[in-house]
């Protein structure tokens, strides 16, 4: 669980270097500073690489927050 949290946070931090961890954990994607569609595509690619799952950008956008992405990944990886 913690491992997933750390790995996911690393993905978010590398994609949004301007945002704080707190902001990344709490904010909705479109409220994160630096968010745009290009960052969305990058986040998808980083998540796919890190967790070995396939995610489409619209699917990710529906998840909206760090925690919901985490829950989604835990379900998919399991």
């Amino acid at each position: 669980m913690n491992d997933c949290d750390d790995r996911l946070m690393r993905c978010f931090v590398s994609t949004f270097p301007g945002a704080t961890r707190d902001e990344l954990r709490k904010a909705k994607f479109d409220a994160i500073s630096g968010w745009d569609s290009l960052r969305g595509v990058t986040l998808v690619a980083v998540l796919e690489e890190e967790f070995g799952v396939q995610i489409d950008l619209p699917e990710l956008l529906e998840l909206e927050t760090f925690d919901s992405v985490k829950r989604y990944l835990l379900k998919r990886v399991a």
Binding site: R10, C11, S14, T15, P17, L38, V41, T42, A45, V46, E49, E50, Q54, D56, L57
Partner: protein, 581 residues
């Protein structure tokens, strides 16, 4: 490197005084992760650079190149894919794959290559260009099926090969090796159809990383080693000379010793490209001499200098070879089949690359051959490469002669009948000057290195003065051995920004001639040296110290009067090649 590592690498802070490296990435697709990987790999190779990447419009590779403003960039990386040549070769445009369209697709791809060629030929006159040819599989558009090459596919591939050969004739254009790409990124793992359709980015991230790494290698250039020291027994040949005798050592297929023959063949090839090769062997010297009389050796005796054959430690042999070559340990590779000998030399020379010869492992041997080839990679072979070994041999004889005290240095230099040619035309040989500045360590004013883009821009600047110096004497030609780069700075001052001299030219007083030339050519009353003490430029500092009381400082100055007072006799004959301006 995966994407997350690349993003982290790119975000790492650069030193405040980092030099910019402005790269234009030209591709017809969305550069997306390729851009990230390229920036990350460039940072890996050049941590002291601030990498600034720009790319052009989506879907217009040729147009991006045609519109490029060369003064805004230092280097151009071009990544071509099939769809850049004709959109019907990609999957984002539904242009049709009907049989009757195929000849037209080949024809229009050929026309695009022609346009690309013209654009690249124009750019490469002012900027270095690195090209990656199409790497993706062609779509299943040919009626022959995918197991057989159709005539149209063969035509496309022939035209690409022809284009690559033609475009790389220019010295400033390099093409990424297809073989290296195949090795590092298998064809079946390159194409990402989903990313292509949804994002306009056709590569899997692993493939994008490999392309970016190979481009970054081309852009930054590698630091080639200068010499290789090899063991003899069970390395250059199979068998122990002292036990088997001269006829009992082998390197041929029929004696099951082919790997040693291939190794000899590679060393001979390196020697012919100007790499220094020497031997260090625990052996009887007279027996080694006899072995080298065998005429079936692939590496001739004349390609090796020196041969250290005795029973003392290998590190002693290596030290003696480095002295004769006048080369630093870190510029040399040592090869021996004995892990113990390798460890002994490595311990004495921690910066030297020491390798165990993989005599019993075919796969490792293949990797070893490729590794050596890359360690000594060169982009061009110059006249100096063919002169290097002979001149080192000659200077060995030369200084042994003078050490024996038969002559004073004055008399000796007089008898050597040295001749120096100074050339101050920037168009004459910028390439050799570039190479010399970027690889010389010991007699180097400040250790400053230049990437190709900066170098060509410097040469284009009318204020920049470039002087190259060639030397020859009765012992032979040394070729171009010194480079000075600088500018006039009001009131008869000449600022020396870079000054290097090959170690082969040491102790001939050529360095004094260099300064004398600057004073005369630029009518200077004072030289200002942009000097920087490095861990390796002791010989240069020692030379400047001759003119300076007290410690040598960063912007050391030398007046014409002091120079005249301290300059020794300079017996060389001087010629000058005058600039055609």
């Amino acid at each position: 490197m995966n994407l997350i590592e690349a993003l982290e690498r790119v975000r790492r802070p650069v030193p405040e005084n980092a030099r910019p490296l402005r790269v234009f990435l030209a591709c017809g697709f969305t550069p997306l992760h390729l851009e990230t990987f390229l920036a990350a790999h460039l940072r890996n190779f050049h941590p002291d650079y601030r990498v600034e990447l720009k790319s052009g419009l989506f879907g217009d590779l040729v147009g991006n190149l045609e519109r490029l403003r060369s003064e805004e960039h230092d280097v151009v990386a071009v990544v071509i894919e099939w769809s850049d040549l004709d959109s019907r070769l990609g999957l984002r445009i539904l242009g049709g794959w009907k049989v009757e369209s195929l000849p037209d697709i080949v024809n229009s791809a050929d026309q695009s290559l022609g346009r690309l060629m013209r654009a690249l030929q124009g750019i490469s006159t002012t900027l270095p260009v690195c090209i990656c040819l199409p790497t993706l599989p062609l779509p299943p558009m040919f009626y022959t099926g995918t197991q057989r090459s159709s005539i149209f596919e063969l035509s496309l591939r022939r035209n690409i090969a022809f284009f690559a050969e033609e475009v790389s004739i220019g010295r400033q254009v390099s093409v990424v090796s297809g073989q290296r790409l195949d090795e590092e990124s298998p064809v079946s793992r390159r194409f990402d159809l989903r990313a292509e359709i949804t994002q306009g980015f056709p590569y899997k991230t692993t493939h994008a990383s490999v392309i970016a790494k190979l481009l970054a290698e081309q852009i930054t250039g590698n630091k080639a080693k200068k010499g290789l020291i090899t063991d003899l027994d069970d390395t250059l040949w199979a068998g122990i000379l002292g036990e088997a005798g001269v006829e009992g050592v082998h390197w041929h297929l029929e004696e099951h010793a082919q790997l040693h023959g291939i190794y000899q063949q590679l060393l001979a090839s390196l020697a012919s490209a100007g790499i220094l090769i020497a031997a260090a062997s625990k052996n009887d010297a007279s027996l080694v001499d006899k072995a080298f009389e065998r005429n079936d050796l692939l590496l001739s005796r004349t390609s090796l200098f020196p041969i250290e054959a005795h029973w003392r430690p290998k590190s002693e042999s290596v030290r003696s070879i480095l002295q004769k070559w006048n080369v630093l340990a870190e510029s040399v590779v040592f090869v021996d089949d004995s892990p113990m000998e390798v460890a002994e030399v490595q311990c004495a020379f921690p910066k030297m690359e020491c390798l165990v010869f993989p005599k019993d492992d075919y796969a490792a041997f293949w990797g070893f051959l490729n590794h050596l080839r890359n360690r000594f990679a060169k982009t061009i072979i110059s006249e100096e490469d063919s002169l290097r070994l002979q001149s080192i041999r000659n200077s060995g004889a030369l200084w042994e002669n003078s050490r024996e005290g038969r002559n004073s240095l004055d008399e000796f230099l007089l008898q050597a009948k040295g001749s120096l040619v100074f050339a101050s035309d920037k168009a004459l040989d910028g390439e050799r000057a570039f190479e010399l500045i970027n690889k010389t360590n010991q007699f180097n004013l400040n250790g400053k290195r230049y990437d190709k883009g900066t170098w060509f821009k410097l040469l284009k600047d009318p204020a920049t003065c470039l002087v190259t110096v060639s030397y020859e004497d009765k012992f032979g030609k040394l070729g171009k051995i010194a480079v000075m780069l600088g500018r006039l700075s009001g009131q008869n001052k000449f600022v020396v920004e870079s000054w290097v001299m090959s170690c082969r030219a040491f102790s001939r007083r050529i360095e004094f001639n260099c300064l004398q030339y600057l004073f005369q050519k630029f009518d200077a009353v004072e030289l200002v040296f942009e000097l920087q003490v490095t861990s390796r430029n002791g010989p240069l500092i020692e030379f400047i110290q001759k003119f300076v009381d007290g410690p040598v400082e960063q912007n050391a100055r030398l007046s014409r009067d002091i120079f005249k007072e301290k300059v020794p006799k300079l017996p060389h004959h001087i010629e000058e090649l005058v600039a055609n301006e």
